[in-house]
Symmetry: C2
Subunit: 453 residues, 2 copies
């Protein structure tokens, strides 16, 4: 039920699937209640952007009117997806790095999916919102703290929404656990854990030809993510990628909607994994063996919340290890851990203080989204999560509603990254987390995944 | 292989065993090289003290010359253990709370095992050391920070040793993992996790007649540990019990012997579990339902070490949950987790980034102590750990050597408790951890569990 698919494996399979049009996801009949068209544009049609583009094919109300990328090969591959699905090719932008500013001004456009290097996320989202369109922003939304404020301020000024496309909020087990929390199975929640524990060494380095591994290049000599993502491990020591873990647990305790992050403290272990990888694979004389990677191998962040809960986030991407988002959800009556798929609930579990498998619970608390759209989701990426996150973005546009993961979530969840850097730089001191809602969290009501159709 | 025995179950079984003299552990022939007598005294012969007393029966060189307790029933039960084993009854002290000061001055005494309420540990250890005897101190050694300095200063003044009786350092899987670390299986260590995750609600409350559960009394109206231990949950918010987790991982990265704790930061969730327990079991009108328990339900502490490692400690004793010390030992080549008994080592494990069972590794790296003394250890407490910790204390006395877990370890490991309180009280700010060795850690060499006989 859970997605532990290696992204590399997934993307390879997905590319094949797209090429052969084998796995086109289908939209459930009852999914959409009105017939309004949703006209989407894409900024960034690299591997991730094309994954989203492919998933739009499941939604008949969607028309992809325009795409933007400075890489002509990416544009070609994207048009091929549309063409092979019998769709009209999209208008193309990409004559320079700022051509997206022209694209977002088009009239035949309701929303824009942004899947670009992290440092471009906010400028592109701001341009989209200023043009009055819905922005669908890949994770993490921001790199710098000010960018979170920029997102919020621009939304409040323009009224145009920004949805963070945090797919893990829609992971099947995570949604079932959200149901468990909402059903009070664990009692009052006290503590949560999550993280991003993923051996990314083969993502951070490649040979300039293939997206993953095969060499120890990054930056200009590399291909795909290693072109830009790895530099963050050179320049920054903090949790570089908090939202896959934090988003789901934030939904469980209603952050920004009745609850709020108050402060955090972060600590980083020494960082030896990336240097070791370069030396092991490329030799001591490779130029990248001289690079000083600032990022610690394991970075942990503790967050205190207004309603008294604590959250531990672990970022662990430089070392060999099995993939795990390390979820733990704990309350006064019991707890769930995704490592081991274990659960214990007092007076419910058969044996006193003994784990049991979470399998029966996952079935019992399976979320309505998954019950209804399991088949449709199967063709999409990351075990189906990508179907649901895109669906919610499209429905928000179609219904002209606030997206379930909104600009305040994008701002607050992503801000943990620069704030963790601050804490580490100051010797793990506590750092206040801004209230991006400016007090509105006290009256805002939860909306995520409440609909049952 | 691992001890997940509930302490309550263990003690009940152990009491039966002692009564019937069924499970007397035996000393291996090759264990002791010299014939010198080791004359022990006991301060505190409650349940824990009598457990140690029973374990001395495995060591023929040990003579228990004196015991001290203010509870006459505890004295009677202790004498019974000696008598039924064919030993001479011990001289008795206990006429008031300070009678231990008279006992430690006896001439027929080489070392004293101290198993009393936490707040008495240090005064009793200091008296023992000032009398020139080895102090064997139950965990945690200290409650207040100054007490760590008192232990160190008294050792440095008197030359009398203090060993922290941290039994988990001798847990079979933990010792095997220590061997793995020393064999460089995980490569350079970057991050460790540990903790004390144990539903203690039935320990913190009882009915005044039985040691565990059956009521919601603590303090004067309660029996055994609940008489004194629970008050710490009323008065203190911090990691009350760090050494079961921290001791083992500190040995793995040579804290005080080539490495040092630098600073920590702690965070506590809200504390609702103890109040809920009182109300659920005793009703809203029970006087203890008015008590404000200061201790957070989950307290986490991050420690930064001089050699760049980070340690996460979790203290989780107020909620229903399966027992786990939550170990994780991670390096540049792989990692082990005791939750799930899982291990992954790059280029050793069969599948890329996929966990495997740690079973074969535990056999391969089984520590010499366990290979040699498995049978002897089986009769002792906590899955055999108690045999080994007592053995090391006795051998240190017999050989007039520094105990493998010495006064600096007792001081540093235990100090995490008051320092975590400080951090939480100041909003999770970072707090420096004193160097109790005053620089000697730079040249001190590891000694724990290096002997092979």
């Amino acid at each position: 039920m859970k997605n532990t698919v290696d992204r590399r494996d997934f993307l390879q399979k997905s590319s094949l699937a797209v090429a052969g049009s084998l796995l086109l996801p289908q939209l459930g009949k009852s999914a959409i209640q009105n017939d309004a068209k949703v006209r989407l544009g894409f900024i960034g049609v690299g591997l991730r952007g094309r994954n989203h583009l492919h998933n739009t094919l499941a939604f008949p109300m969607v028309e992809v009117t325009c795409i933007c990328d400075i890489d002509p090969q990416a544009i070609t591959a994207a048009q091929k997806i549309l063409r092979e699905a019998g769709k009209k090719e999209a208008a193309v932008y990409g004559k320079n790095e700022h051509d997206f500013e022209n694209m977002v001004k088009r009239d035949d456009l309701d929303g824009v999916v942004i899947a670009t290097p992290w440092e471009w996320h906010v400028p592109m989202a701001l341009a989209t919102m200023k043009a009055g369109k819905y922005a669908g922003l890949e994770v993490s939304a921001t790199v710098k703290l000010q960018e979170s404020w920029d997102l919020v301020n621009t939304f409040e000024k323009t009224g145009a929404h920004c949805m963070l496309l945090e797919n893990v909020c829609y992971r099947r087990d995570v949604m079932a656990v959200l149901n468990m929390v909402r059903s009070n199975l664990f009692g009052e929640i006290t503590h949560l854990q999550c993280g991003y524990q993923h051996d990314l060494r083969g993502v951070k380095f490649n040979n300039g030809k293939q997206p993953y591994g095969g060499g120890v290049e990054f930056g200009a000599n590399a291909f795909s993510e290693a072109k830009w993502r790895t530099q963050h491990s050179v320049d920054r020591n903090g949790d570089l990628y908090p939202t896959h873990g934090l988003g789901p647990v934030a939904e469980m305790i209603n952050i920004n909607r009745g609850n709020q992050f108050l402060y955090l403290t972060s600590m980083a272990s020494k960082g030896i994994g990336l240097h070791k990888y370069v030396v092991d694979k490329g030799g001591e004389k490779h130029p990248n063996a001289k690079v000083n990677f600032k990022l610690g191998d394991v970075v942990q962040t503790m967050i205190k919340c207004a309603n008294g809960e604590t959250i531990l986030i672990t970022h662990d991407t430089n070392s060999p290890r099995p993939y795990s988002l390390g979820f733990r959800v704990q309350g006064a009556n019991g707890l769930w851990m995704d490592d081991g798929n274990q659960i214990y609930v007092e007076n419910v579990s058969a044996k006193h203080d003994v784990w049991e498998s979470d399998e029966a619970y996952m079935k019992k608390y399976d979320h309505a989204f998954w019950k209804q759209f399991e088949q449709e989701a199967l063709g999409a990426g990351h075990g189906g999560m990508d179907y649901f996150v895109l669906r919610d973005f499209i429905l928000s546009i179609q219904n002209k509603t606030t997206p379930p993961i909104d600009v305040y979530d994008a701002a607050a969840w992503s801000a943990i990254s620069p704030l963790s850097e601050q804490s580490i730089a100051k010797g793990s001191t506590a750092v206040a987390i801004p209230d991006f809602t400016r007090g509105k969290w006290k009256t805002r009501k939860p909306i995520f995944a409440l609909e049952t159709t």
